[in-house]
């Protein structure tokens, strides 16, 4: 027991002290933060400002087109010719010419002149604005009350409510459930691969270093294998916790420092837009969307509260831990059977297939969480860590969850025992590429 602790200690510290660990620990959250923050940042930065000179021959749009943060409309009456001259010297970079009678046209075709092509989003914004205004005019032309239209158009949002055993209602949301399940499953998947292959590499290292025979003369091979698996699990756990802490920290720092101004700006801008366009339908639609989207955030947060967080976290921890342990044992077995990493391919494939298959299965499980396929694969130990995590937010019957957990533990014990047998023989076989047949025989050698 004391020796096992020594091995765990060595495995842990020799990895945590490595520069690559420090590097990954710092880079990991930066990458994660990057994935989350950069698109937002790009979206905010990438929009170029446009000054548009509107030559409105119909007169319908004068002072009606809503300015946005990037797009400012100015209305002119000069000829296209002289306006084009202004395009050269500024301040305008776009000129829009609108025909005489857009209300009667089947299709309105404003002409947009540019020196540098505006982005798709700018074009979209301009044409949407025109469409909205024309929409209002046409309705008014048919003397339809705008406020009635406004009143008639209301969003539908379905709430799914679970009736629990004791008759209480519980709000659920399928989309959020799926999201939470998949995120948990992806984390488990990556951690199994990342640290499982570290176990394998560690075993190969010991074997090629030829230190393994010295060590197994002091401890049982099984102890060495177990020590390595547990040691690396602790490394993974340490890194995972550091990542979460750092990610939160970095995100907090980045949002509060870099985006502070922009966020305030946007808010101000929005307020202005709303004020200017108070009576306009397009603003009404805008406002509606805004209310809707902020509702969505609140809904999402509510959904998270509705999913039984404690249960989910406990299950996550359980499947994470035992899923890793089970696969780490298999990876250790593979590592012991080969002489170099290059030889691992033929053995890795059968181990990764259930993992990858889990994800394919998980997708259909999310659409039908109670199918018999979902039931089977969320109990089968090689796939349950991933499939069950996807199923879990949809409320799995207690007996299935317990059966799944028990079978995962049993599977872990079985595969560790199996891997231990392969490991015991494999680590002392040098210079010979093992075949599946040979590995099969190793299982029956007497210890």
């Amino acid at each position: 027991m004391n020796k096992l602790f020594l091995i765990i200690q060595r495995e842990y510290f020799s990895r945590v002290k490595k520069k690559s660990f420090l590097l990954m620990t710092i880079l990991g959250p930066l990458l994660m933060a990057g994935v989350m923050v950069v698109p937002v940042w790009l979206a905010m930065r990438d929009k170029t400002d446009h000054q548009i000179l509107v030559l409105d021959h119909s007169g319908l749009f004068i002072n009606k087109l809503p300015d946005s943060k990037q797009i400012k409309f100015t209305y002119g009456v000069e000829s296209l010719q002289s306006a084009k001259a202004k395009l050269k010297d500024g301040p305008f970079d776009l000129i829009m010419e609108i025909g005489c009678n857009p209300l009667n046209d089947k299709k309105t075709t404003p002409l947009l002149y540019y020196k540098k092509q505006p982005g798709v989003s700018a074009e979209q914004y301009i044409s949407n604005s025109i469409e909205n205004i024309l929409f209002d005019y046409r309705l008014q032309g048919d003397s339809i009350d705008l406020s009635k239209i406004d009143n008639a158009r209301r969003p539908v949002e379905m709430l799914t409510i679970k009736v629990t055993e004791d008759g209480k209602d519980e709000k659920t949301n399928t989309g959020t459930n799926m999201l939470v399940g998949f995120i948990c499953a992806i984390i488990i998947y990556f951690m199994i691969f990342l640290y499982g292959s570290q176990v394998m590499r560690g075993v190969i290292e010991e074997k090629t270093n030829r230190i393994v025979e010295v060590i197994v003369s002091s401890v049982k091979p099984f102890q060495l294998m177990l020590g390595k698996i547990v040691g690396i699990a602790l490394v993974g756990l340490t890194q995972f916790i550091l990542w979460i802490l750092l990610t939160v920290l970095i995100n907090f720092a980045v949002t509060s420092i870099i985006f502070k101004n922009q966020i305030a700006d946007t808010a101000k801008q929005n307020a202005q837009v709303e004020k200017v366009m108070k009576n306009d339908l397009s603003a009404g639609v805008n406002k509606m969307e805004k209310v809707h989207s902020s509702n969505e955030v609140i809904e999402l947060l509510n959904d998270f509260n509705n999913i039984n967080i404690t249960k989910l976290l406990l299950c996550f921890a359980f499947y994470f831990l035992f899923g890793y342990l089970l696969y780490a044992a298999l990876f250790a077995g593979i590592g012991s059977a080969v002489d170099s990493e290059a030889d691992t391919q033929q053995f890795i494939l059968p181990v990764t297939i259930p993992l990858i298959a889990s994800f394919i299965i998980a997708q259909s499980v999310a659409t039908d969480p109670d199918s018999s396929m979902a039931q089977f694969f969320s109990i089968f130990p090689l796939t349950s860590p991933i499939v069950m995590m996807v199923r879990l937010p949809f409320d799995v019957p207690a007996w299935e969850l317990i059966l799944s957990m028990v079978s995962l533990v049993v599977g872990f014990l079985f595969f560790t025992w199996l891997a231990g047998k392969i490991y015991r023989t494999g680590i002392l076989m040098y210079g010979k590429k093992a075949s599946w047949k040979e590995i099969g025989k190793w299982l029956f050698y007497k210890a």
Binding site: E206, R210, V214, S218, R424, L428
Partner: protein, 316 residues
């Protein structure tokens, strides 16, 4: 004295070959025991069984009269033939780790290690990474780790491979010193020179079977062939005439009137008879008995066994 190690009728079989076939050995305490045999004879299999790395299919091993069990691990020191260290670890961390795995307390391990490092004059290596050391340097570290916990039984598998002559000498000296201090050493090799120099007893294993064992002195005596080498100045023909009836001439070399002859004494003839015959004819420059080297014995035993096997298979 009770044997420190007793191997009783060990059998070990791998998938399609027999590694050990009914092998028995007795290793006496405070002796250097040579385990000899060609490559693939089963030496390493036997050593792994003694180290409890693998188990025998049948038979048993007694350590100090007790059936071998995990508690004995701490009394055995093992230097495998295929040996190495963690390349990325520092020397100090590594030796501390391995010493503690052998059951030493952190404090004791450190004190003892410092002593050994001083003895080998390698204190400056403590903070170096293993990968910075040469192979010979690594071997020294491995040797220290093997003997650090003062094992009662020391098992060295080809200990001199990879050492330069100076370091090999250093290790030999240490091995002898350890024996003086009470350790028993099992020493597996196919380098026969070192066997003659170091071993008290040997066992010869070939093709999974023990062919021969006993003390080196006795074995060599048993394999004596009553052959002598004599160098003399004088008449070769006179010499030949004088001894031809009692001896067989194996080899002759002449340089002017200095002759050097190898003869095998026949029947009950003693070396004295040979000398008497020569004394009147020639001036004796040197005379010595040709004792078979372990190398010769090794080869003859292995080959005899093979011919015996082929013969027996013919008669079958």
């Amino acid at each position: 004295m009770n044997p420190i190690l007793e191997v009783k009728n060990i059998n070990k079989q791998y998938a399609n070959h027999i590694a050990l076939k009914d092998v028995s050995l007795i290793v006496e305490p405070q002796k250097i025991f040579g385990l000899l045999g060609p490559n693939g004879a089963g030496k390493t299999s036997l050593i792994r069984i003694i180290n409890q790395i693998t188990g025998p299919d049948s038979g048993e091993v007694l350590f100090n009269g007790e059936r071998l069990s995990p508690k004995h691990v701490d009394f055995i020191g093992y230097l495998p033939e295929e040996r190495g260290l963690y390349k990325k670890m520092s020397v100090g961390e590594q030796v501390m780790y391995l010493a503690q795995l052998k059951g030493l307390k952190k404090h004791d391990a450190k004190a003892k290690l410092k002593e050994w490092f001083k003895k080998f004059e390698i204190e400056s290596w403590w903070d170096k990474k293993i990968e910075e050391l040469s192979k010979g340097m690594q071997q020294k570290i491995q040797f220290i780790v093997t003997v650090l916990h003062e094992p009662k039984l020391l098992i060295l598998d080809e200990p001199f491979s990879g050492f330069d002559p100076i370091n090999a000498q250093l290790i030999k000296k240490e091995i002898l010193e350890l024996r003086e201090k009470g350790a028993t050493i099992i020493f597996s090799t196919h380098n026969m020179g070192s066997v003659e120099e170091l071993c008290d007893n040997i066992a010869l294993i070939n093709k999974a079977e023990k062919l021969l064992d006993g003390s080196v002195k006795e074995i060599r005596k048993n394999y004596q062939s009553n052959t002598y080498h004599i160098t003399f100045k004088g008449n070769l023909i006179g010499f030949t005439n004088a001894v031809w009836a009692g001896a067989e001439f194996l080899d002759k070399k002449s340089d002017g009137d200095v002759h050097s002859v190898t003869v095998k004494m026949l029947r009950q003839n003693k070396p004295n008879d040979l000398l008497e015959a020569v004394l009147s004819n020639a001036e004796i420059l040197s005379f010595n008995e040709i004792v078979p080297s372990m190398n010769d014995i090794f080869i003859s035993v292995v080959e005899n066994k093979q011919t015996a096997n082929t013969q027996s298979s013919f008669t079958e």
